[in-house]
Symmetry: C2
């Protein structure tokens, strides 16, 4: 279980920093996509298309960035899989945590 | 009551054309606002702000552009009030209809 993991003060700082880094990266990427889609609006249905795209992405981000220690390992594995974080961004976390993340990445 | 008004074939064509003109204008204006807001995105909360703005505007447009003959007079009055249509765009409608729209505009 992920819930049994203890997070030291340093690990919490590393986790928080990695979380914020991934969040900034993903939101920055989304901002660029919104700008690109907005520029392409030519007819009214393009507005509705952008609305659906934006709502979907915002919902995804809201669901994904869940900073509870019980789900942090799963979230980091997903962020790495999706390309928003590298395992190196988590350097300093205990080996057990890194191993669990690596195991999820290989699963 | 608005429901008692009869619409001739010509009046229906004029109404439809005015409806589409206002819709194109308002959507075109919204597209420009979206592009301008998208360009201003600097931090993640700006994305959420744009999402709320877009959802609100799309809901407003969806509610407003209601092409039922029973509400057409009310809709045209509102479109003129909001600046998306001019009374001249409705030239060719029967005088009774024009009078009712004018009465709504002065109310």
């Amino acid at each position: 279980m992920m819930r049994d993991l203890k997070w030291s003060k340093t690990e919490k700082q590393i986790a928080k920093k990695a979380f914020e880094k991934a969040y900034e990266r993903e939101c920055g990427d989304l901002a660029k996509k919104i700008q690109s889609e907005a520029e392409k609006i030519k007819v009214p249905p393009d507005i509705w298309r952008l609305q659906h795209f934006l709502n979907k992405k915002v919902r995804e981000i809201d669901n994904k960035y869940d900073y509870r220690y019980s789900v942090l390992i799963l979230m980091f594995a997903r962020l790495i899989k999706d390309g928003w974080l590298m395992i190196d961004d988590l350097k300093g976390l205990g080996q057990e945590k890194i191993d669990r993340i690596a195991a999820l990445l290989n699963s």
